[in-house]
């Protein structure tokens, strides 16, 4: 089989439409993961009674089961409990919650890396608890957390290919669909792989730049 530029060119618009959905899923999933992950971490760090146990169980449960199983469960089982959401919404939520369980650990480690003296210094100045978190602890934890969180977002971008299994017409699904219609898989799937590579490579360069500027500012 020889590479055919004509096929590649006609696959391109389909793949771009797929990339758009992939990016929506990744960005939506990131938003969910960043917020839910922070909430999980805060409950564990502040040791909120009862909720703390729930969060530990929840995190272990999410991390102990495959993402694909979670996607299938949300897509096929939840409707029988009356919860019907679009495939994309399910994809965003499941991707987000799955990664939140990992991001919670990143947040937790970053907060624990802030020297205890800093917290005592803030306490000695009688800075109220909420303000202590906002202006002393989190800003100092951020440079440690951001590169790690960024890595999870990049891997979420790649994991989003799994959404093809629950009918989301994202990048991989578009490539596969184009192949099944034209009987040519070489061009669309090669391009799919290249697009994943280029986007994640550029993102990781951006992330490294961010990491460097944050270290300089410290």
């Amino acid at each position: 089989m020889i590479w055919d530029w004509h096929t590649a060119a006609s696959a391109w618009p389909h793949l771009m439409a797929g990339l758009k959905l992939t990016l929506i899923a990744t960005l939506g999933g990131s938003a969910v993961a960043l917020v839910v992950g922070l909430a999980l971490a805060m409950v564990r760090l502040v040791r909120v009674p009862v909720l703390w146990w729930f969060c530990v169980f929840f995190t272990d449960f999410i991390r102990g089961t495959p993402l694909l199983v979670q996607l299938y469960f949300a897509f096929f089982v939840l409707p029988s409990f009356g919860i019907t959401l679009s495939a994309l919404k399910i994809g965003v939520i499941v991707l987000g919650v799955y990664n939140a369980a990992y991001m919670a650990e990143v947040y937790r480690a970053a907060v624990e890396s802030v020297p205890r003296e800093q917290i005592e210094g803030a306490k000695a100045l009688n800075i109220p608890v909420a303000r202590r978190w906002r202006s002393i602890i989190l800003p100092q934890a951020a440079p440690t957390a951001i590169p790690e969180l960024g890595n999870y977002i990049i891997s979420m971008f790649k994991e989003s290919a799994l959404l093809s299994t629950i009918t989301v017409t994202e990048l991989l699904q578009q490539g596969e669909a184009f192949g099944s219609v034209t009987y040519r898989y070489l061009e669309p799937l090669t391009l799919v792989g290249l697009i994943y590579l280029v986007v994640s490579y550029i993102s990781s360069i951006g992330l490294r730049w961010l990491e460097r500027t944050m270290t300089y500012r410290r």
Partner: protein
């Protein structure tokens, strides 16, 4: 010059102002600024404070001396609410620090109670603990704005006044990492003063510093002692400094106060054998 000192006194004497104002009883019925009664603190099986009692009248400058692990720093940390004692009573003025009244019974203080009491005490730490991501100015105004509810413009103006006091006005926009250790410690002193504390705690504030900058920090404290009526507790290994600035020297050993008196008495004629051997060891090193 005289006027300047008077102004500084006014700015830095909130404790007395508060005692004489409507917020608390008049100074005459507050015999002590700080009082510890039978305080016990254990870390596991180690007793750090062993039934310790200590009374400090308002305005007194007290130097706490003694070997490492004798409980000096723990006293300061207990007063700053960073370390909860296992038993005993700690008072700031007339108010119990670690206990509060609930339905007619005394119970362990909660965070809200501590927050109210803690505002009257300021502390300067051995390692400065400036917030590295904030400028010098921001370090000083953060607490007055968010803890005392001072307007930002007022807090900034007051911060510049305090930076003048420690000789660092031109450093307001720098980050702590751009300052020397001595300068950082002076900022830390200004930051603690911005909260207008009645009681100031200094925890070995010069022991992390290079020898050549120790003097500039001690000078700031000496100025404070000379110009303000703030009650001060200073844990220090600088015996000459203690001798010059303290009204009273308190010698700690094994979680207890073993000797206490005016500096000249303690340094020239210590009565306790332990004090004698301690002073001999540190003065030889000096």
């Amino acid at each position: 010059m005289v006027q300047e000192i008077e102004d500084r006194k006014k700015m830095l004497n909130p404790g007395q102002a508060r005692q004489q104002g409507s917020m608390g009883p008049p100074a005459s019925v507050v015999p002590y600024a700080v009082r510890l009664v039978d305080v016990v603190k254990n870390y596991g099986s180690v007793t750090v404070l062993d039934n310790l009692s200590l009374e400090i009248p308002p305005g007194e400058k007290v130097a706490l001396i003694g070997p490492s692990g004798s409980g000096k720093t723990t006293v300061l940390r207990t007063l700053m609410t960073l370390e909860r004692p296992d038993s005993g009573h700690v008072y700031i003025g007339n108010d119990e620090l670690w206990q509060m009244e609930r339905r007619g019974r005394m119970v362990a203080a909660n965070e809200r109670h501590l927050q109210k009491r803690r505002a009257r005490v300021g502390m300067v730490f051995q390692h400065y603990t400036l917030f590295p991501h904030m400028t010098v100015l921001r370090n000083i105004i953060e607490a007055p704005i968010h803890s005392l509810g001072v307007e930002k413009e007022v807090a900034v103006e007051q911060a510049y006044g305090l930076l003048d006091l420690v000789g660092l006005r031109s450093y307001a926009d720098r980050k702590p990492s751009q300052l020397s250790g001595g300068q950082q410690q002076r900022v830390a002193i200004a930051r603690a003063l911005a909260m207008k504390p009645e009681v100031m705690l200094f925890d070995e504030v010069t022991s992390a510093l290079d020898p050549e900058v120790v003097g500039e920090v001690l000078k700031v404290i000496k100025d404070l002692v000379a110009t303000t009526g703030i009650t001060m507790l200073m844990v220090t290994h600088e015996m000459r400094f203690a001798q010059h600035v303290a009204d009273r020297v308190v010698m700690f050993d094994a979680g207890k106060v073993i000797e206490s008196g005016p500096p000249e008495a303690i340094f020239s004629a210590p009565t306790h054998e332990r004090t004698r051997s301690f002073l001999q060891a540190v003065l030889v090193r000096d």
